[in-house]
């Protein structure tokens, strides 16, 4: 069953007409057609599905959304002007409505050492084997199989980043995804493959050219950390306030590899983020971090799985959410220790800070432990600003509004501090302050 019957769709360019003729090779277009069939056959999620419990599934009406048309010159100039993130980067790609509008290529030195940083559609032709091996290799099991299929059917561009054995890229790689135009849809994709002992940091920005315009974003990331590799991935989500966003991330961590991901959620009307981290080799470590600040009628929905498939692996999840006005938050997370994955260390901590009487926090932290020699714990708390701390700050002459903001920033900062790269952490703090200032 499709989300809507086709005859209900009247607009030209609607995403519900299915794949347009993409530029990809035949095998890729075959995959897209198959994915479209899958999208149409999978049922629409309901609240009765455990994976969608508490979620406002009624918001998932895709009828209005269409492929971004041609970008106006004004929008293009505006987007290029506004795509300001970090000062120094190793490479930068800027996408607007799935069209690559700007690129800062990586240095010759990195290219000579074998680093590949290019749009997805080129990678599928020039590096077919690598691409096919890792592109959406893991089924979306956290509820959004239907939307992963939609993404696969309709994705037309994105980023391919390959870091070969032993290469360490010091400066971060930066990627911008812009939604432009009324009811536009984008399908961002990042395919990151690191080989043995490689090291890389990536920051992705999700933004809207027009703050009020409704839009739809359906992204998928494949993050593959080869043996001993070290990957830091940061996502700064600042979609416009009427955007419906779904992001499905799959992370594979091989032996002795370490992946740290941080997702900062600030924008959108409804944003669902699924993150599966699979630890497949001894000594693998995955840090899953997230910060969200929700206000108005925003709804943030996070579903995670820390999947320990091998002995001697570590995962550590820390999610902190601040909720104001009538905002809602859902966290559904699971630590799964597979049989024989002994000597697992797995932690999961979710903390919600409720700032208003109409805010709502739903937490479903879960454990499934099928091996005995493990250290696992999880905790979930929901509370509010401590009256004593407020009093302390006010007693020192700080006005209540500022005191409150200081305390919320302090609460969230525990997560940001886990990012070692100072410029990145500072940038995230700046984005948080901007949201408070609004």
């Amino acid at each position: 069953m499709s989300l809507v019957a086709h005859d209900e769709v009247t607009q030209a360019g609607s995403i519900l007409f299915g794949p347009v003729d993409s530029r990809g090779p035949d095998w890729f277009r075959d995959q897209q057609r198959a994915a479209w069939k899958q999208f149409e056959s999978l049922p629409k999620p309901t609240r009765k599905d455990q994976a969608w419990r508490f979620a406002n599934v009624d918001l998932l009406d895709l009828t209005p959304f269409k492929f971004g048309g041609t970008l106006s010159d004004h929008d293009r100039a505006e987007i290029l002007d506004q795509s300001r993130g970090l000062d120094e980067v190793a490479g930068r790609l800027i996408f607007a409505g799935d069209e690559l509008v700007h690129r800062d290529v990586i240095s010759d030195q990195l290219r000579q050492r074998g680093v590949i940083f290019q749009p997805l559609e080129r990678a599928m032709v020039e590096h077919t084997d690598l691409f096919r091996k890792h592109f959406m290799s893991q089924p979306a099991t956290l509820g959004s199989a239907k939307f992963a299929a939609l993404h696969q059917a309709l994705v037309s561009s994105g980023t391919f980043l390959y870091v070969p054995r032993g290469v360490e890229i010091e400066l971060p790689i930066e990627i911008f995804h812009w939604l432009a135009g009324q009811n536009a849809a984008v399908f961002p994709h990042l395919l990151l493959v690191t080989d043995e002992l490689a090291k890389v940091t990536v920051i992705e920005h999700f933004r809207s050219a027009h703050r009020q315009s409704p839009g739809f974003a359906c992204g998928v990331n494949d993050l593959i950390a080869g043996p001993g590799a070290k990957v830091t991935y940061v996502c700064a989500q600042k979609w416009g306030e009427n955007v419906l966003a779904l992001q499905i991330n799959f992370t594979k961590v091989e032996h002795e590899a370490s992946v740290k991901s941080l997702n900062l959620h600030l924008g959108s009307r409804y944003s669902r983020f699924e993150s599966l981290s699979r630890l497949t080799g001894e000594g693998a470590r995955s840090d899953l971090l997230a910060v969200s600040i929700a206000d108005g009628i925003q709804e943030f929905d996070a579903r995670t799985l820390q999947d320990h498939a091998c002995p001697h692996t570590t995962s550590d999840l820390l999610y902190k959410n601040a909720l104001n006005d009538r905002a809602r938050n859902i966290f559904g997370g699971l630590i799964r220790v597979e049989p024989h994955a002994h000597f697992t260390d797995a932690y999961q901590k979710v903390r919600n800070l409720l700032l208003s009487d109409d805010a709502e926090a739903n937490s479903m932290p879960g454990l499934e432990i099928l091996a005995d020699n493990v250290k696992c714990s999880h905790g979930a708390t929901s509370g509010q600003i401590d009256a004593d701390e407020m009093f302390y700050l006010q007693a020192r002459g700080i006005p209540p509004a500022i005191a409150r903001q200081l305390l919320v920033s302090g609460f969230l900062n525990e997560v940001i501090e886990r990012i070692e790269e100072r410029v990145l952490a500072d940038h995230l703090r700046k984005l948080i302050e901007e949201k408070f200032a609004r």
């Binding site: 926090a361 932290p365 099928l370």
Partner: protein
């Protein structure tokens, strides 16, 4: 450490003996309106009860199994093969000699009196404790406490019974509460008048001669304003059932300032589906405390809940739990400890809900799981919803093994590995077991020792 653990093997088959069934009066297998009428006729139900049962049946047939979150194992229940009513006094008989040696040894080790052993082993269909029961009944009766079977309760005290029956857990709460509503028999009815504090725990154990432990028992306890009562059901010894489905409904009503403590210790044999709905309604300043200890069974699904309806009401329980805060300044506390042995699987499933505009509600949840063998498994699935400021909710869970250092330390001091292991496991549950009345906690400790012993090293 690992080698030692893998050697732990618990023989759960000790509860698995069957004997020929000869039922003089029963409703036959399967469930239909005829079955309901048969039960109502035999039990001489008043008309409103008959109607209640029929509504229960209708709801049961309409409701699907909870398949989207529950274990698929539920689908193994064949509702057409179950006998829904066995008339009292028609239980099976067998002789003490037929009872397997190891069971007798278990009784011996637990220190269970001779007479009770016979009942538990199914040699006597009913445990003759008339004397004990009538003493208790007399003692509490003087204070105005009503302590009878649910059938007697609904016949002799309809004015209290009807007011609360099916109110805390409505027929349509879930498929199994509907089933219980249709075919219930057995269970207790207790009413404690205002201000009365019942000193001794009331035990279902001492009332079971009047009506056997049912498959579908229905218990209703009402503690009037300012009263206090402790109720206990079950026992630590293995309980043998020919039936495979146990589906009880327990409703507790604690009126203003009342305290109810409900203690369950159950040790089902490995073929039993134990699907129980338990809920307490705590009015202002009232306290409902569930202490629930589950051993054995094929699948136990039981989430005792407390609805804190009045200000400052409090709830306390362990194992799967449901806490609905419905008034300001309510406090709930959930402590769950599980031990998984062999291929055992312990699941905690909890729900905490603090709805809109409440102030100063507190919930604390702690789940600790201990895994004994490499094949043991444990799961935790809490669901927590909090709206608004002014409330504090926290959930914490941990999973661990018996610490190798602890075992080493104790072995250093001359304990055998098995003794060390059992001490360590007992220590894990100690703060909960301590809350049980003395005899129970002693029995439970012995039972844990027994389960661990001979299986390690």
């Amino acid at each position: 450490m690992k080698e030692a653990n893998s050697a732990v093997q618990i023989d759960r088959s000790i509860g698995d003996f069957a004997y020929p069934e000869v039922h003089v009066r029963d409703a036959g297998a399967g469930l239909s309106e005829k079955t309901i009428h048969y039960i109502s006729d035999v039990k001489e139900d008043p008309d409103w009860v008959r109607e209640f049962r029929l509504r229960g049946l209708k709801t049961f047939l309409e409701k699907p199994l909870p398949t989207h979150w529950a274990s698929k194992d539920l689908e193994a229940i064949d509702f057409d093969k179950i006998r829904y009513y066995l008339a009292p006094g028609t239980g099976a008989k067998r002789s003490w000699d037929e009872v397997p040696e190891d069971i007798k040894r278990t009784f011996e080790r637990l220190g269970i009196p001779e007479q009770e052993r016979k009942f538990l082993a199914g040699v006597e269909a009913q445990f003759d404790s008339e004397a004990v029961y009538s003493n208790i009944k007399k003692a509490v009766g003087e204070q105005g406490v009503i302590f009878v079977g649910s059938t007697e309760g609904l016949k002799n005290h309809p004015e209290i019974f009807r007011k609360w029956f099916g109110k805390v857990i409505p027929i349509g709460d879930n498929k199994f509460s509907a089933l219980n509503s249709a075919v219930f028999s057995g269970g207790s009815f207790i009413y404690v008048p205002p201000g009365v504090k019942v000193k001794h725990p009331l035990q279902a154990y001492f009332r079971i001669n009047a009506e056997n432990f049912g498959q579908f028992e229905r218990t209703l306890i009402i503690a009037d304003e300012g009263s206090e009562v402790t109720y206990m059901e079950g026992c630590t010894a293995p309980k043998f059932n020919t039936t495979t489905l146990h589906s009880a409904v327990v409703e507790l009503v604690a009126l203003k300032g009342a305290k109810i403590q409900y203690i369950t210790v159950q040790n089902w044999s490995a073929n039993v589906f134990n699907l129980v709905t338990k809920r307490g309604l705590a009015h202002e300043d009232a306290q409902v405390k569930w202490i629930d200890c589950n051993i054995g069974s094929r699948l136990t699904m039981k989430y005792p809940g407390v609805i804190m309806k009045g200000r400052k009401a409090r709830g306390h329980q362990d194992t799967g739990a449901k806490m609905i805060h419905a008034a300001d300044e309510t406090t709930s506390n959930i402590i769950s400890k599980s031990i998984s042995i062999g291929t055992g699987r312990a699941t905690y499933r909890g729900l905490v809900n603090v709805p809109k505009h409440l102030k100063h509600c507190k919930n604390n949840t702690e789940c600790d799981a201990l895994l004994i063998n490499a094949t043991s498994r444990t799961d935790t699935y809490p669901t927590i919803t909090v709206r608004g400021t002014g409330n504090a909710v926290q959930h914490e869970a941990s999973v661990s093994q018996v610490s190798a250092e602890q075992i080493f330390y104790m072995q250093q001091r001359g304990l055998s590995q098995a003794q060390a292991m059992s001490l360590s496991v007992n220590g894990f549950v100690n703060d909960l077991v301590r809350q049980f009345p003395m005899e129970y906690s002693v029995e439970l400790k012995r039972l844990i020792e027994l389960e661990m012993e001979g299986s390690v090293g």
